[in-house]
């Protein structure tokens, strides 16, 4: 397949094309550094958003450990009754709505489209504030290359914002 054909395929399948044509958007979660979409990754049941376990660290910054879901030394135990976890078609999922509620974290959904957004967890912000550690992030540079703030350890950084508007 030629490059042009690949580009055409991407254009046809992109959310932009689908929304512009008024077609149905697949369920999409906007998390801190990337989005998650599609029934195998996320699904909604009884107004709760579930996410497959492999996507949890990238979506939340928390990893599964014996103590529960942990971000460095901050651990949230999972309920003993197993209500936050479930299997579906050979994959396992976390009740992200329940987890976010426990953390006091905003998980917002659009009232019409199947589009959700997860804000930063207050506990993480408070931890960063208490230590004055600069919150880490990953953003693209001019060439599209992903750059992390933590890549600049060992150098002084002036983090300066501006805008074209």
């Amino acid at each position: 397949m030629k490059v042009a054909s690949y580009l055409l395929l991407i254009a046809v399948l992109s959310p932009a094309a689908l929304l512009a044509q008024g077609e149905e958007l697949e369920l999409t979660l906007l998390a801190a550094e990337r989005s998650f979409a599609g029934g195998e990754t996320v699904f909604v049941e009884d107004d709760h958003l579930w996410i497959d376990l492999e996507s949890v660290p990238a979506a939340t910054g928390f990893e599964f450990k014996p103590e529960g879901l942990c971000s460095e030394d901050l651990c949230i135990p999972l309920p003993a009754d197993g209500t936050w976890l479930r299997g579906k078609e050979e994959r396992r999922y976390l009740d992200l709505s329940a987890f976010a509620e426990k953390l006091g974290q905003v998980l917002l959904r659009d009232r019409e489209l199947p589009l959700w957004a997860l804000a930063e967890a207050p506990m993480i912000r408070e931890r960063n504030l208490a230590s004055a550690l600069a919150p880490d992030f990953e953003l693209p540079d001019r060439s599209g290359r992903a750059r992390r703030l933590s890549d600049f350890r060992g150098k002084k950084v002036l983090l300066l914002t501006w805008a074209s508007w």
Binding site: S14, P15, A16, L19, A20, T28, L30, A32, S35, Q105, V106, L107, L108, D110, R111, E112, L113, L115, A117, L118, A119, E120, P122, R125, L129, A130, S131, A132, L133, A134, P135, D136, F137, L139, P140, D141, R142, G144, R147, L149, S150, F152, R153, G154, K155, K156, V157, L158, L159, L160, T161, W162, A163, S164, W165
Partner: protein
């Protein structure tokens, strides 16, 4: 770092004109606005070699500028910055962690919700769903009314009305400054 939902297309001409040799990032969703509690541009944070913040987000013009009745920045900012570069931890302009935390404490506990609305708005806007985006722009602005980034970004998409909207909101500040002055007093 461009806080710019227009993406590379909007930011690149400025980076090119500046012949920028420093790391140039594009922040379409204004993640840094939310993560660092910024409310306007230009803002800057000083971060040391270990990743510790040494000054909180504050207005960061290289010299004081006057835009009509708006006083922006401080001629001493670059002097302070040079002092830090030269002296490191011995610079007189660094703030202790507790002072940093106090200055960065959110004055508005609705900011995370405003951020979530803003990110939904950006995603919808960039994916052609303008009407749905408009709902979330408005929610973000209502929840975080003092955040100029959230207002000015959306206004920029309608150039015919953006100036009038800016003037109206600016007038609503009354005696409050458009940019809070950086407190560069030495420790």
């Amino acid at each position: 770092m461009a806080q710019d939902s227009g993406g590379l297309e909007a930011a690149e001409p400025f980076y090119a004109r500046a012949k920028a040799e420093f790391t140039c990032l594009i922040d379409v969703e204004h993640r840094i606005t939310a993560l660092y509690g910024m409310i306007n541009v230009p803002s800057a944070v000083w971060i040391d070699e270990k990743g510790q913040m040494l000054r909180p987000p504050e207005v960061a013009y290289s010299e004081q500028k006057i835009f009509g009745s708006i006083v922006a920045g401080d001629d001493d900012y670059v002097l302070a910055l040079r002092d830090w570069v030269a002296k490191g931890a011995e610079s007189e302009y660094l703030l202790p962690a507790a002072e940093m935390a106090r200055k960065m404490q959110a004055e508005n506990d609705q900011r995370p919700r405003a951020d979530a609305h803003f990110r939904l708005a950006v995603w919808l806007h960039r994916n052609g769903a303008s009407a749905a985006a408009a709902r979330h722009w408005q929610q973000a602005q209502e929840l975080d009314p003092e955040n100029w980034n959230y207002h000015r970004q959306q206004w920029s998409f309608d150039p015919e009305t953006s100036s009038a909207k800016f003037r109206a909101k600016y007038r609503s500040l009354g005696d409050r400054p458009y940019y809070r002055p950086a407190e560069l007093k030495k420790k």
